[in-house]
Symmetry: C2
Subunit: 187 residues, 2 copies
């Protein structure tokens, strides 16, 4: 069967949609960060994805990108300032029900997590799994991968160690409430 080109384009988009799995989680986090910003609770932003520009043109002295490709972020995707502290984190989503595949986290991201811990910042992963959002501290993540050779984190470990982030209307994901409990309790 022959499909028209615009339909074919749709198939291509669908076939790469797994790379957009984090989209809903990302939207929820962006909306939560906007809420925190408006309420003056925290200054936390998603970093723009870096690009490599191949070709540009100029229209009325305005630079237009005519060809470019996405590059890899050197850091985690989100960073900012909360209660005088540096915060950095990344958001990961898996459809897997029994374990979180470590292939979701690249080596330079693991290095960045180690570095932020070493320099005294707050660093964590937000993991959406089985429709629940968890905050796993950088320390618990590093302690896991340093003591195992497994290629995934069992769901049991996440349930035991990670902290559930409540969903609500606003902010959609109130992860700073977990940060308060985990990093600021007693202050």
């Amino acid at each position: 069967m022959q499909y028209p080109n615009n339909i074919k384009k749709c198939f291509t988009k669908l076939s790469v949609s797994h790379s957009n799995r984090g989209m809903n989680l990302e939207n929820a986090l962006n909306s939560s960060n906007n809420y925190y910003l408006k309420k003056d609770y925290a200054l936390i932003y998603k970093k723009p994805t870096p690009i490599g520009v191949v070709d540009v043109s100029y229209n009325n002295h305005k630079k237009i990108i005519e060809k470019a490709y996405f590059k890899e972020q050197s850091t985690l995707d989100y960073n900012g300032l909360y209660r005088g502290k540096y915060i950095e984190f990344d958001a990961k989503e898996t459809l897997n029900k029994t374990s979180f595949p470590l292939s979701n986290i690249q080596e330079h991201q693991t290095n960045q997590i180690r570095n932020v811990i070493k320099h005294g910042g707050i660093v964590f992963l937000i993991i959406r799994m089985n429709n629940i959002n968890y905050l796993l501290t950088g320390e618990d993540y590093i302690s896991y991968i340093d003591t195992t050779n497994r290629k995934s984190i069992s769901y049991k470990y996440i349930q035991e160690k990670a902290h559930i982030i409540k969903e609500s209307y606003q902010p959609q994901l109130d992860y700073l409430k977990v940060v308060d409990k985990v990093y600021f309790e007693g202050e």
Copy 2:
């Protein structure tokens, strides 16, 4: 006189070159940040410039940007973590010899400076003027604009309040030495 197209393109590039005035300063800062990173002194990065994507194509499931434009950064350009503290700054360059035009700093950047101060972070401007690199603290910048209606900062104020950043081979601009003195003295 008619010029060939490739020469015309050159003219267009030259005519917008004032927007690239900060390029050398930016390169010096990127190289200094790489040095700090390699030496494990600090984790400080320039944020990628955000873009608005108009059109994409797919090549072997890899997304190619076919048209896009540059958007404005919501924050200052550089941020990161140093000695357990959140740091954010921007770099500005002027060819003006007697005063630094405030038109170089946009309103949302001034707001961001106020916000970082309020939330307990370290924030400053690196200003290159008369071939000297100065670090002007966010506090001194805000105190200036809140007490004057002038459209520029006089060079005299910069000489009095700002701190000279020494240039060397590596790091090219050792601005963290100034940060040590201004923000960590006595620790």
